[in-house]
Amino acid sequence: MVSLSWHAPATLAAMLFIIGLIGLLARRSLIFVLMSIEIMLNAAGLLFITAGMRWGNPQGQIMFIFVINLAGAELALGLILLLRLRNRLTTLDGDAANRLRDVQA
């Protein structure tokens, strides 16, 4: 069907991951930070799928399901924290989050 070797999708995964990482490092807005994490998780998922393709093993897709699972759980918590942070600090600046320890709980 496809003559493609596993190198190409693996490279794609690496590139996506690095884009996510750049986003994580560069952006101060926590929304983008969360999004960058999602990008990186997704890249990791892609790598699992690639591995599943390479060995014809369903385990790759199963791991991808777990990655989605993890992403969902993580995002749920991340978003709720985002909301609370926004209420507390009235900003979404990640660099300002270290002021949390000065705020009385």
Binding site: I19, I22, S29, M35, R54, G56, F66, L83
Partner: protein, 171 residues
């Protein structure tokens, strides 16, 4: 190595995904960023399909793009980001903040590509893994992992609920 139709689709989808992802992280307005990310996910779904994982492709569209990202969108909308917030956001996006991330990203990319392309292992066969195979495996041998995943979701649920309550009620 000649390019088959599938290969063309793969490369096109890959390029699309990379492009939209790159756009996503550079937007000042989070909504645009997220929408671009959804597009990138759709591109990824196509990539999955070409890699012989139709089930994963479906999940990517339905669960990731459809459920998780929509949740994300809702929350961002709930934040009611006004014009000043977006203006501040674009104020942060100076070119200087990209220098170090891109440099280090390039370094990492160089390393990874060197490792990947330099690997001389066999390319290996190309298999299609059917949803049936995935399901069988998932609910027989990997049942414990499924349970663990459900625990994780539960923890996420409870955590979100707990954190979401008003501050007074939590103390």
């Amino acid at each position: 190595m000649s390019l088959s139709g599938y290969d063309i689709v793969f490369y096109a989808a890959s390029a699309f995904a990379l492009l939209t992802t790159a756009i996503a992280i550079t937007r000042a307005n989070p909504l645009y960023g997220l929408l671009n990310f959804v597009l990138s996910l759709l591109g990824m779904a196509v990539v999955f399909y070409t890699l012989g994982a139709p089930f994963a492709a479906a999940l990517e569209v339905i669960v990731y793009a459809g459920a998780i990202m929509v949740l994300f969108l809702f929350v961002v909308m709930m934040l009611r980001l006004d014009r000043t917030a977006i203006a501040r956001e674009s104020g942060w996006l100076t070119s200087s903040i990209w220098i170090i991330p891109i440099l280090s990203g390039a370094a990492l990319a160089g390393e990874l590509l060197y490792g990947l392309l330099g690997s001389t292992g066999p390319a290996g066969a190309h298999h299609i893994v059917s949803p049936q195979a995935v399901g069988l495996k998932l609910f027989t041998t990997d049942l414990a992992a499924v349970e663990l995943a459900s625990m994780l979701l539960l923890a996420g649920l409870i955590g979100a609920y707990h954190l979401g309550r008003p501050a007074r009620a939590r103390d």
